[in-house]
Symmetry: C2
Subunit: 336 residues, 2 copies
């Protein structure tokens, strides 16, 4: 079958191409009767507008981009599922870009997007991102952007996070309640505000409990997992081995389990572990892992909803607003 | 800053818009000197061609689509990372579509794509897909498609899979070697050829070991995880409780662990479990999970490479070819 085009519809109906086009776009210049005829033939022949041509005309791509560090991770894959649900309800497609924690890739993607390929962007910063000129550019090109989780504090727009400071405080308090006296914090990026908040919650909980905080109790991890493994192993092999660990992200908690296995350190007997995590198997681990669990699916839904609301209002610059959802501390055997 | 367009470049250089356009497209009609001037200004002002306009001209979107059931799953997220690596090397963007195992969504996506939004499609079928007319349509629109993992046997094109039959046989033989006499197979979709092959491997291994195969030892699971949980619970609560389980996908193995915990059935003492899985935490589970592990990242790379090869050759209909990669059986405590 040949492709059904405006031209072939026009020919079949004996109308001008421009008439068919205006009928399909519900123009007031076209009679209801003609519109009805055009719509019914278009439906019958399964006419699909050429997305590029109609994008040029309407200046709309019906596509949103999600820029995020990684998907081989339960948190982000759940967020994407949430975004995807809202996008589908709105008849939009979702373009996913993975930065693999690289500031350069993030900047390249955004420069590429500033020319109308997408109508809006949902974004969680790479761990490297410090300079934000690329984000400023995105904003200047009138493409609305909503941040989730790893937000950019310095850009005014809608930002969806969880209560990271309180969660950091609670996780640390939980370890203290279970008898820990020397607690390490495994950080994943000092550039990111969510890391800073989790860390500050940790520091304040130590202080409020009259426990000593030392800078060397914070282990600054990065993107290289082998390197992270070594850092954790060094920590747990030292003379001052901690009796509690608070991991700021899921993968670091998993690495702790792996190191403890290698060093034959009993969890929770020798060391107690809690971490931010959306791991489905958290309860099946040996021992089951105590977690701060973020409402990941809901984060995706809320971030996408804010973006679509801006489309409906034709509001390209979003108001500066924080939406804070609550994480949950789930106690399991790793902190018993 | 205003957006840099062909028009603004032309104005600044005092040239016709068409001259600037042809210079950027390296037309033989334009002198080397003019090209040099245009390119250097375009670079200086960070000119980006409008992707829709240039898509119409070049009939190329520089985008490929990945259509797959789910990403909250370690196998698919690793495959996407592999695809993404190759796409980036080729300067392409990856559009991800999630079918959530729905045939209807899969068909809708494809109808939407048949109009030039993407240059090619990488695809893993939904569990529901039986009628393949939408796939035929895709092929008829001259958009090359490569299947991975959940392939469509009836469509001739490149298909990347693992050795599913052999893996099914090996997994079953492994359980038999460990003393299992009554082994159940947890299927996830009887429409999919990979499920059929894993199942046939299971049946043949039973027969070759003179063990009885009964139809009711195959549990047909679906997309509803609560329903799957119930089916597994019914199986493990029955008078004829199996002593071995072979799960065709990761999530079903996890559900088995959850049911065994509820019913207080010891793994591997009472029941041994092996499953297809790319779970990072397989070795940390209680007990650690024996797996058939697929080379997921490599599957993504190979599937994407086949697609880009077809672009380079300008070959829109791909030859019918199967690429089979090998999975690995990793023995852990769940089958001890």
């Amino acid at each position: 079958m040949d492709q059904v085009t405006l031209k072939s519809l026009a020919k079949e109906l004996n109308l001008a191409v421009s008439t068919v086009s205006r009928a399909l776009n519900d123009s007031y210049e076209i009679s209801a009767e003609t519109k009805e005829k055009v719509h019914s033939l278009a439906k019958k022949l399964n006419y699909q507008p050429n997305p590029y041509a109609s994008s040029l005309r309407k200046r709309s791509s019906n596509t949103i981009a999600v820029i995020l560090p990684e998907i081989a991770n339960n948190f982000f894959s759940l967020v994407i599922n949430g975004i995807e649900e809202i996008a589908q309800e709105n008849g939009y497609h979702v373009l996913i870009y993975l930065t693999h924690e690289s500031h350069q890739k993030e900047a390249d993607f955004i420069r590429h997007l500033t020319n109308g390929r997408v109508d809006g962007v949902l974004m969680s910063l790479s761990g490297e991102t410090d300079d934000i000129s690329h984000l400023q550019e995105l904003k200047n090109s009138n493409i609305p952007v909503v941040f989730f989780d790893r937000i950019c504090e310095r850009l005014s727009t809608v930002k969806v996070t969880t209560n990271d400071y309180e969660s950091g405080y609670q996780a640390t308090q939980h370890l203290i309640n279970k008898g820990c006296k020397q607690i390490s914090y495994l950080a994943f990026s000092k550039n990111l505000s969510i890391d800073q908040k989790r860390r500050q919650g940790y520091i304040d909980a130590l202080k409020d409990n009259q426990l000593l905080f030392r800078e060397d109790m914070v282990i600054n991890c990065g993107n290289d997992q082998e390197d992270n493994y070594k850092k954790i192993k060094t920590l747990l092999s030292s003379s001052q081995v901690p009796d509690g660990i608070f991991a700021s992200v899921e993968l670091l908690a998993i690495l702790c389990y792996e190191v403890c296995r290698e060093l034959e350190l009993n969890i929770p007997g020798k060391i107690k572990i809690i971490g931010f995590s959306n791991l489905r198997t958290a309860s099946l681990l040996h021992p089951s892992l105590s977690t701060i669990t973020q409402p990941a699916f809901e984060i995706g839904k809320q971030a996408a909803s804010a973006l679509f609301q801006s489309f409906r209002k034709k509001q390209l610059v979003l108001e500066d607003k924080k939406i804070e959802l609550l994480s949950e501390l789930i106690e399991r055997d790793s902190t018993k």
